[in-house]
Symmetry: C2
């Protein structure tokens, strides 16, 4: 993959194939070696790549040939529509947050931090070590590597107030990313057809997971300081719901962090209703002027089920999260998680543990905080200067996003299209609402590539907005 010499040959041969007839014979390895001034190993590697892609085929002892293209006739799959039946509601994914964007645009839409913000040296070293270890060839216990379970438990135990029983490693289930965890939690703690209270706006991945499981979403409005306890109380009373999904720290998209008082009030409501709080601590490592204070540390009665991913802060390649629960709920969660994913790759678990227990991790988090501060402030200032029509209710104390409110008459999809035509990719806020949007918003992620172009991007958003408003 990283061998540029082999890549060069692949790309040259690919061009040649495009003009060659099917079945044409490739030049011999020897002549490719001399043509590209490369070693036989490099040429063989390039040919293997092309064989892997199905572009050429090797006939041992005969030679290598351009793959014979089979007569392609348009497939008739219309029978499938009858077999599949109606589309399930809400199963279409919003395209913006997972989209790949080309390098020549400013990408403010993605949910994943840029390469500059992950601890590259630690991650690469950890993969090398894990590749040499037992983890590369064996299967870890289904609930996770004991040492990683312990690490997640210890992190929460370190902030558990005196007098409360801290979780232990047996309360932790290692899962392959928080998305798998949300499916499991919605299925085990709520169930198809039953109500789930959810902040509005909230993380679109949770909305999609809920649709997949078929739970009925009950929106609880949530502003820059979180939801109002009265709204939550009323929603529990009216629906008989037994669970509330929330992001009490640096909520995605609006950055809200609940005050300690609000946290206690919510815990109190949840307990009185015999319900679960599903706490998604997605931005635990992304504090800026505050740190994430998990509510789960303030509950030892099994009411809070806590989910905390390392994917965004360690590396997008390390899809590992910890899920902490207590009581019978834990048994059901463990069984459901295994039925869905069996277990998490031991290498990814070993890498995650290696990175977060390295002394360099703390240093990385300190640097990250500084970088996020600079990026957040630069984007916010640029927006204030270039998009005066828009309103930034609060500067988030953590997380990766600004939540920019636009005039009510804005045509969001037209605006997003217009921005993209000018080289700035933005995410329309509607995807983050489980029901009616509370207004017109853009979610602008300040952790993407090329922060130096934030002022330009803001200027373009301003111009596009004024054009869209007429």
């Amino acid at each position: 993959m990283s061998n540029s010499s082999s890549d060069r040959i692949v790309s040259a041969v690919r061009k040649w194939i495009a003009t060659a007839p099917p079945g044409a014979r490739l030049p011999s390895t020897r002549s490719l070696v001399s043509q590209f001034e490369a070693s036989p190993v490099t040429v063989q590697k390039a040919l293997r790549t092309l064989i892997g892609e199905g572009a050429i085929e090797a006939r041992p002892g005969v030679g290598t040939f351009v793959r014979t293209v089979r007569p392609a006739r348009p497939g008739d799959y219309s029978w499938q529509t009858a077999a599949l039946g109606p589309l399930q509601h809400g199963m279409a994914l919003p395209s913006s947050a997972l989209r790949a964007a080309s390098n020549d645009v400013v990408a403010l839409h993605s949910g994943y931090p840029d390469k500059d913000l992950v601890p590259d040296r630690l991650v690469r070293a950890a993969f090398t070590r894990a590749g040499r270890s037992d983890a590369a060839l064996s299967r870890p216990p289904a609930a996770g590597m004991p040492a990683l379970q312990s690490w997640f438990a210890a992190e929460l135990a370190a902030v558990t107030p005196p007098g409360l029983t801290a979780p232990n490693s047996g309360d932790v289930v290692i899962i392959p990313g928080s998305q798998n965890g949300l499916s499991t939690l919605f299925r085990t703690l709520v169930g198809a057809g039953k109500p789930l209270l959810i902040e509005s706006p909230t993380y679109w991945g949770a909305i999609v997971a809920a649709a997949q499981v078929g739970v009925q979403l009950v929106p609880v409005p949530s502003g820059p300081s979180g939801p109002h306890p009265e709204d939550l109380e009323r929603a529990f009373e009216q629906t008989g719901a037994r669970a509330f999904y929330a992001q009490p720290n640096f909520a995605n998209p609006n950055g809200a962090q609940w005050s300690p008082g609000l946290g206690e009030a919510v815990l109190d409501i949840v307990r009185r209703h015999g319900a679960f709080l599903i706490e998604d601590d997605w931005a635990h490592d992304f504090g800026i002027t505050a740190s994430s204070l998990p509510l789960a540390a303030h509950d030892d009665s099994g009411h809070v089920v806590y989910i905390r991913s390392l994917t965004k802060s360690v590396s997008p390649a390390v899809r590992v999260a910890g899920l902490i629960a207590r009581g019978p709920a834990l048994d059901r969660i463990r069984a459901d998680s295994q039925a869905q994913a069996m277990y998490v790759s031991g290498v990814l678990q070993a890498v995650a543990l290696d990175v977060v227990t390295d002394p360099g991790w703390k240093t990385h988090l300190r640097n990250l905080r500084q970088q996020l501060t600079g990026r957040r402030d630069l984007l916010a200032e640029s927006l204030r200067e270039h998009v005066p029509e828009a309103h930034l209710e609060a500067l988030p104390r953590g997380g990766l996003n600004l939540w920019l409110q636009l005039p009510a008459e804005t045509n969001l999809s037209a605006l997003a299209r217009e921005c993209e035509a000018r080289g700035v990719v933005v995410a329309a806020g509607d995807d983050w609402f489980p029901a009616e949007p509370a207004g017109r918003f853009l979610r602008l992620n300040y952790s993407g590539p090329a922060p130096g172009r934030f002022p330009d991007a803001a200027r373009i958003i301003g111009e596009a907005l004024r054009e869209a408003l007429g």
Copy 2:
């Protein structure tokens, strides 16, 4: 993880902690360095491990202390039982196949091949390369790495008969292991409450995934040569089912491989009923006296949805599978898979591709075939000699298991317990039946560690069986 010097310190300090009072101060790093004759780096590493486990805590500038144990009071989680409601049917996982066994027993129960049977050198080298590449820090496209998609498509294209349109890379979705894929397929192609035809016996993971999604399983009896077409026809007619899950090659547990004629007959039935065949080609790389011949290669009308995992043959740490479908079903599968798991770690995808396109992979598969032949034959001969009361209907032409039928009066769980007490772990066959078991069976996996002890293991099974039968 692999540093034995640091491990030694961890284990010594752990013993010391066990006798020390909570809050006790650890000897200084300097004194540990001299006590263990180790470098400061090694001592620091050991302490980090213990901090990660929550056994000790560092107070910067003060010292390192045995972690204060908080007053543990028994948690009262009884409220959860009301909140969670009744247990969903079938959600308890059979414990046998995923269980870890200690080294001093002969483990015939596991579904995963021993370390000796995976291409260790290729896997380790691939992890090292992937750790250095872009894949370690970035997010691949949601549907998968294009080159890996191409590889899966090309593998099937290579056996597609002339005249049929082979799949292309766009028809492939990369998923994090086949278990995630089965959930997605049962949800998108069948749906909760709807019937799914399934071989009996069949893979327990499929039975568990079906229970999780809530599909209604309709068993179709399947013997050593596969199901009877008449049974399948009747099941489609009586239930109106739109899908049939099967393993046409080296079925788990009974090793059946369908004849080409049976394959065509099943395809014909599936097409006439406007239905899907979900083909789980789990043992593609485990042919012994035959090769796997995917039925998916004989269908270009979108009726066969194909799933093919690399986890068991590349490494348990490389949880990567390819799913191939065409038509509107593909769109729904892609959307559901993303909603469940987002995407698969780019490192795991890069490692999988690296291994299967390495010239050493073909050599490995040839060696593997020889090893599996030897293991299968040794276990089968040993059983014939030492367990004459049991019946081995057919020697499988591929796969990892023998399916041993026992006398009808055998008490299976008593037998399994008795074997384990004597140092042989076996899996009771009942877990592989979606409804009533068709008899008393043991599934005996011949890909586990210590094949040299198969004769001993067979002798023990024979003794335990005779004891159980009285």
